[in-house]
Assembly symmetry: C3
Homo-oligomer: 271 residues x 3
């Protein structure tokens, strides 16, 4: 009952994003930086991307949420990310960490762990392999390629959330969200998402825009993933392939109402 009530009240959170137009500061990768800016705008929030060490923390102090993405990380960016993260912590705004490709190289894994240790992350978002790697149990991951979250990972995500005090969002064919207490599954989305670079990075921007409203982390993550997934479903219906899907995704999320998300969302609250 509690779960169902939350779903009722929170799935229209995009309406609040549009009303508040929060500024979302990104320190992110160079491949998908433009997509992240545009999806932030399409949600009704405002993006700013500033990663110079001389101004990153200053920019964070103007923002309502911070996204850290290590997709094309350079070593000197890690310290900049930490400074921006600490500024966010001090201001009390949510920090979303997208540990892109963690586990692929030692540098990336070390950088992600250092960020986790130095900054109080609010939202950790990644695919099954990334979340498992960060938690140090790469060998136990099941079904990464198929986007399935195995039962091992459910347990793992829950424990990771408890240890670090973060809300974990594991993306895939089903998205899995947990703060260590509650566990929620969102099954909206479309397989075309995996054919476009940046759909993962963009989900972190959406998450940050929703978190910036001040709603509690789990509610923000559920609403963000459902909204993004519903938009992807609508976009897929108008698309002929990855190029048109990407265009339609911006159009779809920009025209979505909270009411439409509530109707189309497929969310299971596991309490």
């Amino acid at each position: 009952m509690k779960g169902e009530k939350r779903v009722e009240s929170d799935l229209a959170l995009i309406d609040k994003v549009r009303k508040r137009q929060p500024l979302i500061h990104h320190i992110t990768n160079g491949v998908t930086i433009n997509d992240c800016a545009n999806i932030t705008l399409s949600c009704g929030a405002s993006p700013v991307m500033a990663d110079a060490p001389e101004e990153a923390a200053d920019m964070t102090r103007l923002a309502s949420a911070l996204v850290l993405n290590i997709g094309t990380l350079h070593q000197d960016q890690v310290e900049t990310m930490i400074q921006a993260g600490l500024a966010a912590n001090k201001k009390g705004i949510p920090v979303v960490l997208d540990p892109v490709g963690v586990g692929a190289t030692p540098m990336r894994t070390e950088a992600a762990r250092r960020l986790m240790n130095r900054v109080q992350i609010t939202h950790l978002k990644g695919n099954a392999a990334e979340i498992a790697t960060l938690a140090g149990v790469q060998a136990e991951v099941r079904g990464v390629d198929s986007g399935q979250v195995g039962s091992d990972l459910e347990t793992l995500a829950k424990k990771a959330a408890q240890i670090w005090g973060v809300t974990v969002t594991v993306t895939g064919a089903r998205d899995w969200i947990t703060d260590g207490q509650e566990q929620i599954e969102v099954v909206n989305g479309h397989e075309l998402m995996s054919t476009v670079s940046g759909t993962g990075c963009m989900s972190a921007s959406v998450l940050a825009a929703f978190a910036a409203t001040g709603e509690d982390p789990v509610a923000s993550a559920v609403s963000a993933m459902a909204t993004y997934g519903v938009a992807a479903e609508q976009a897929a219906r108008r698309s002929r392939g990855p190029g048109s899907f990407r265009v339609e995704l911006f159009d779809a999320i920009a025209s979505l109402t909270g009411e439409q998300v509530k109707e189309a969302a497929c969310v299971t609250w596991r309490g």
Copy 2:
């Protein structure tokens, strides 16, 4: 009358851009760099983006105009921008400065002022807040969010143009262009422009492509803003949201003729 005659003669300037295909060198931000390259091509000019200190000035010497954009500035880029700017000054080609986000952080404000002091800028293009900040009167800005240029800003832009010897283009729902003597208002454009990242940056590329024809700065700016605005209006008619608007914007500007711009332009010359 003088004003009206100029409008007649200059609004078809895109035809000349296409004929000359000028090379436009950009030192610009990482968020919208691809959009800037593509809008330059769609205008009929050729883009080149090179920001290594070892080659930036060399590249400027091959170009017919230079765009400096501080949207994702790093500290060491400032000196590179100055070197490229000085090379442009020496060659006598126009320099467009887009002081993105000036005023948001001390680093950005200082960098923009340093560029203004060291390089003879031809065109200063920004929104009302950016232009006002650069002129040191942030507190007096009116209606930035609504895109309106208040009467204070008109006075301010005029004074800024006189002091620095630049042509100022203040973008918004109405674009306002002045060289300190003439004042021109262009009201073409569409509100969808504010839903896509990079529409501001792209207007600087269009401006540079037009300025590269050798027309006088005011005439170039008026023609560029009118052309870009007419293209945006056409694109909006074919769009369902920000994703499709962006695609249509490139298509629209690529197929526009000077004659069509002259017919659809909404320009008021205030003498």
Copy 3:
């Protein structure tokens, strides 16, 4: 006859790319990096972009092909490219060099030559001016602007291929491929390609994805250029300008089958 048999057997190579989903590591320019990632995905391969000196070679060791593109080169990237290139050579995976703008500035020319000297390049891909410049005979280039490959360049490309032991792909209205022995012309493609930034860079990604299958270099290059060109022809039929062409290009290549490429390819094997 030999030529015709090869064409029969190799033009459907995209089917093998989709089956193997090779990881393609790019160290590339910031203007078109997103397009390169997306065209790689649309071919059925997986892109990764990592250019930090601390991890670039590590990432190459996970990949099945490496793309080096000097479009927005910084001086410190050259050594990173060399380290990644040497890792690729050691692993025995193909290396594609796209010497964007070589000849425009001394820095760029020197960097490209240094890469050629230090790394065993598999595929050298560029337009006529770039290939000629690298081979040190800029003055002899004919018809660069029109995209025509003059007879001088045919001879030149052949010699360059022999001297360096690379497969040379000269792109233009006609693509010209040679390994110093065989010479093949591919005339698929569309003039809209020259109106979109990144169509050249993307062809290097397609080439790398095809080369990663392990087919011989000439066969890979012919199949890649024919596939990309056929996709461009399909995209052009659905486009109204550069914006829509770019969208349709991703859709087209993502839905192409090897059978369709074989039917539409226009390849002349000159033996």
